[in-house]
């Protein structure tokens, strides 16, 4: 009997494989497989990709600030600081950052200027290529005076080559090479233009530095860590809140917080698709469980034990989970490489290693989908009584609400928590999601019922189709919700890209400014003014601009929200300059642009107090209403400002309402002349340039290379670019939702296949023609898609209305033309997928159909 024993131990395995083998040709496992693959691939690529980006930027580069410590400020440093650092044998490098126009012949471009001292960088590597043919870049320091390193994209955008001369401010500088690595490059989300690195010695010749110019000064320090520590102890008490002292770690922490946030956001958005994939798993496994009832009952009737049956199905599920998770990981890896390839020109991920995190996250996601959403049907399958072979296999309806819904809900919560790391947020999203789905379900049901009524009058095929749609309403609701979401995303992208911005631009009157001039010196103003008068260019004059901090309100020092946050984390980033005062009144947290005026600017309205008289020697300030509310500032409050090394205190004499949407130059704080006039500064202006004057203006402005002329169209182009980038992210989610939604639809159709076969057979025997049958099936899906499209269109209008009223501050408008797009796209797509999944059914000959079901 030895032979028999060996057979026994592997027998269940062989039986299980046999069942699985035949099962693979049926639909449910395929659906479950694809759903898990989808979820795993999404999570893996997303987590892996952002992990690699983070690694490439943060962890891998030895130094991201080009020094051991950086002191960043908006003015030059006190000489005594540098004397002290020299005494401690610290090495110092300087860097000035600003934005400016550069010119090459007819072309001009807004760029990031980095003026650096000869020994820059102190840590990390600046790498350049002095010829484009050169394969390897070489380590470099600041370019020699008279020359610049530029980022490669500048060459094509200005149509220049290495060796050509570009004008930076008024200085002609030669492009000596392209820069491939900048150790302390800024990863701000949307940088205006390519970076140019020039020698700090050339900064004076550019004439870009004017009093009041918007510049960032960085002082880089490197040396023995003890010396650094001593310097830090000496320096920190002397710093004010406009000066930041940080090390590489603090800079990285800041950066990785930003990256974490965007990763979190994307993962949560992708939850939409993952939930749908899980729903597909749930639908398919319920169907699978029902279909296998007979098998289990027969197995048991023939003497198989529960243990035996459990082993059979656990093996199925284990194999299915492993296979789909593995496939998902491979696919996700592929997607990740695609992503890395797409950003390769900007950031190389080649050396960023994969951590365990994406693997773990993706595998957990896959397991949760495979187990939590399938456990109930599989468990009740295994429990099937053998008595069923005698009493028949009822299609047991599981209760709508019950304990069996706990595992899926728990799994959803776990996923949300895994992605957000935030208990409250996960709870809110889960409940919110349930609420929204519930509302959509309710509404969709209503529409399906309404359709039933309409269908009675709309011909036989439609009648049948809509009757079926209503009868399967509860099964159809899930698809309805998923396609509604997908179509809504599609519509939102379309409307956002094509309509909102255009409508927003159209609503401005003709003399709305479309060009902005920055960095105008006092001496240049008369000439420019004369030009605008001669050419009748509409403008609201020149505004002197001053950068200052609100340092106290009624003598109470202010702190910014940012400072509060950094204090909370101060143990983790101890080297970041911490604020001396731990308590204080809520402030602004950034430098404000101040100006003075004799007359109230247009689009401004006094809502409290009074505007001052011209020539009033008593210092006064007028504050914008929202800011006043936020900081709890009342008329008569005394505000103290720190402008460079000066400090002054003035009373609030009026509160203004400002139309921020006017595209005029708007200011939160406006002073009377006597307060600010003594400080040297530059001015800005906003002009409305007509199309025919455009060339003339540009030719004239070429005489003033130190002035940055910004075309509003260029700003709009940048905004469009941002919207484009957001759309890409939304499109990815959209694709995910569409694929997952289709899986749910196919799973649902499969679940209703026998029922459909029976119906068709009955209709056939009653003499219905093939066309009627086909149309009744097709129209059912078309109607489902159309209803989803309709709901999506309404949802889109709500979304657009919120965007228009909250973000763009314009009056809401309807976009009926997109309703057709939504309804059409829904009907076509769902109709197509539905027909595809019913293909077999529709192509069965009527004889087979009747034989099979009768």
């Amino acid at each position: 009997m030895n032979n028999g024993k060996i057979t026994a131990s592997s027998m269940w395995f062989r039986q299980s494989m046999r069942l699985l083998h035949h099962e693979l040709r049926r639909g449910e496992l395929t659906i479950i497989f694809f759903a898990i693959v989808l979820a795993v691939a999404t999570v893996f690529s997303l987590t892996g990709f952002s992990g690699q980006i983070k690694h490439a930027i943060v962890a891998n580069s030895t130094n991201t600030i080009g020094a051991d410590r950086v002191l960043r400020m908006s003015a030059e440093v006190e000489p005594s600081y540098l004397v002290k650092s020299q005494a401690l044998n610290l090495v110092t490098a300087r860097k000035i950052e600003t934005e400016s126009m550069v010119f090459a012949g007819e072309n001009m471009l807004l760029t990031e200027l980095d003026a650096v001292s000869d020994n820059y960088p102190l840590r990390g590597e600046l790498r350049v290529k002095t010829s484009l043919a050169q394969a390897e870049s070489v380590i470099a320091n600041a370019p020699a005076p008279g020359s610049v390193w530029v980022e490669p994209s500048l060459l094509s955008r200005l149509a220049v080559n290495i060796g050509d001369v570009i004008e930076v401010g008024v200085a002609p500088l030669t492009i000596a090479g392209v820069v491939t690595d900048i150790p302390d490059r800024s990863y701000r989300a949307f940088i205006a233009g390519p970076t140019i690195i020039l020698n700090i010695a050339d900064m004076a010749t550019t004439e870009l530095i004017q009093p009041g110019s918007r510049l960032t000064y960085k002082y880089l320090f490197a040396g023995e860590s003890e010396a650094i520590a001593t310097f830090e102890d000496w320096l920190k008490p002397k710093l004010n809140d406009a000066q930041r002292w940080y090390d590489a770690k603090a800079a990285q922490n800041r950066l990785s917080r930003v990256l974490d946030t965007s990763e979190k956001f994307l993962s949560l958005a992708s939850m939409l698709g993952i939930v749908l994939a899980a729903v597909a798993v749930a639908v398919a496994s319920r169907r699978y469980g029902q279909r296998h009832q007979a098998t289990v009952a027969i197995f048991k009737a023939l003497g198989a034990s529960i243990r035996h049956v459990k082993k059979l199905y656990c093996l199925h599920w284990a194999l299915l989970s492993c296979l789909s998770i593995a496939t998902g990981l491979v696919l996700g890896y592929g997607l990740m490489l695609l992503g890395a390839n797409a950003i390769a020109s900007y950031l190389s991920l080649a050396e960023a290693p994969l951590t365990m995190k994406p693997f773990l996250t993706a595998i957990i996601t896959g397991l949760l989908c495979a187990i939590a959403f399938a456990i109930h049907p599989i468990m009740s399958l295994v429990q099937s009584s053998p008595l069923k072979v005698i009493r028949g296999f009822s299609q047991e309806k599981t209760a709508r609400f019950g304990w069996h819904q706990l595992p899926p809900l728990l799994a959803l919560f776990l996923l949300l928590f895994m992605f957000s790391q935030d208990l409250v947020m996960s709870m809110a999203l889960l409940l919110g999601g349930i609420l929204v789905s519930f509302l959509l379900l309710l509404f969709g049901r209503g529409l399906m019922s309404a359709g039933r009524g309409v269908g009675t009058k709309a011909g036989k095929s439609w009648h049948l189709a809509l009757a079926n749609l209503k009868r399967r309403a509860s099964e159809n609701s899930v698809q309805l919700v998923s396609f509604t979401i997908a179509i809504k995303l599609l519509l939102l992208i379309t409307v956002m890209k094509s309509s909102i911005l255009a409508e927003w631009q159209q609503q401005f009157p003709d003399d709305t400014p479309n060009h902005y001039l920055i960095n105008i010196s006092q001496a240049q103003i008369p000439e420019l003014q004369q030009f605008t008068e001669e050419n009748q260019i509409a403008n609201q004059g020149f505004y002197y601009i001053y950068r200052a901090r609100l340092s106290a309100i009624n003598g109470e020092k202010t702190i910014s929200a940012e400072d509060v946050a950094s204090q909370a984390n101060s143990s983790e980033q101890g080297s970041e300059q911490s604020n001396e005062q731990s308590q204080g009144r809520r402030g602004v947290g950034r430098e404000l642009g101040l100006t003075w005026r004799n007359e109230l600017p247009i689009e401004n309205k006094i809502i409290a107090g009074q505007w001052w008289q011209e020539g009033d020697q008593q210092g006064q300030v007028s504050i914008e209403q929202n800011m006043a509310e936020r900081l709890d500032i009342k008329l008569g409050d005394e505000l103290t400002f720190r402008l460079g090394s000066d400090e002054f205190t003035v009373p609030v004499t009026s509160i203004r309402q400002v139309n921020w949407q006017s595209r005029q130059l708007n200011f939160i704080m406006i002073f009377n002349q006597s307060v600010l006039e003594k400080f040297p500064t530059t001015a800005i202006s906003a002009w409305s340039v007509s199309t025919q004057d455009r060339d003339k203006v540009y030719r004239f402005m070429a005489n003033f290379p130190t002035i940055t002329l910004m075309d509003f169209a260029a700003i709009m182009a940048q905004l469009n670019q941002i919207i484009g980038q957001v759309s890409v992210a939304i499109s990815l989610i959209l694709i995910l939702v569409v694929v997952a939604g289709s899986l749910v639809l196919i799973a649902q159709v499969q679940a209703s296949m026998e029922e459909r076969e029976r119906e068709l057979a009955i209709l056939r025997t009653l003499g219905a023609r093939g066309k009627l049958l086909r149309n009744s099936v097709l129209f059912e899906f078309v109607a489902l898609g159309a209803i989803a499209g309709l709901m999506a269109s309404m949802g889109m209008e709500i979304g657009v209305y919120i965007l228009q009223s909250q973000v763009f501050n314009m009056t809401g408008s309807f976009h009926f033309q997109y309703w057709f797009v939504g309804i059409g796209a829904g009907a076509a797509f769902v109709g197509f997928i539905g027909m595809l999944s019913c293909w077999r059914l529709l192509n069965l000959s009527s004889v087979t159909l009747i034989r099979r079901t009768m």
Binding site: T7, H22, A294, L302, A304, I306, V389, I390, R852
Partner: protein
Amino acid sequence: MHVNSESILTVKNLTKLVQVEDKSLTILQPLDLNVVEGETLAIVGSSGSGKTTLLSILAGLDLPSSGQVYLKNQPLHQFNEELRSQVRAQHVGFIFQQFLLINSLTALENVMLPAELANLPDAQARGEALLSQVGLADRLDHFPSQLSGGEQQRVAIARAFIAKPDILFADEPTGNLDSKTGQHITDLIFDLNAREGTTLVLVTHDSKLAARCQRQVEMDSGVLTETTKVDDNTPLNQEEFTSNQATDKKNKLDANHKVTQAG
């Protein structure tokens, strides 16, 4: 070899009640029954009389509401689902009215199943042999959906015999088939049964089919009555028994199987 006089199935005071909404409905009145090894027994009765209910209790698929069921001396009424499964795997074969093949397995795989569950060696060889005995040698790899009703039932018959069960339960095995096919199926069952010497308990509403069994009992609204026919109504497999044995058995039956009728 079995000792013919030994009883394989003994039922005492068995009843079955089911709960329908708030009322309890008696499906089987208290009944006794004894089946000896090698015997063929027919339970006849009109539809709804409780035959299938009785059969499912005898085979250990269901539990009685009261009373005892011994199959191969094992007290099924005291056994849980798992233990009853074991008994079925070792001693019981089934043929159902609806064939009940596993749709996703081939004919041969369906037939092999009980042998595998009972850990018998040579499942495949035996399966092939049995399928050719029922005339399906060339349909081994076909799926149930590719077979006619009669062919499916032939597969089910092969499956019923593969594990050499001690007792075979057949519930209206020809109920879903036309009369000609039904005849063929019946011949196959009795043929194989005779060859294997299996005890057969056959449920049917068809008196002609019942007549081929050595002994008949009748079920009427849950009440079981012995109706064994006179000796000249020769059972098909009588030649397997010596007349001695048959008489011997007959006496035993008369002595032991008093069918009780409750009031």
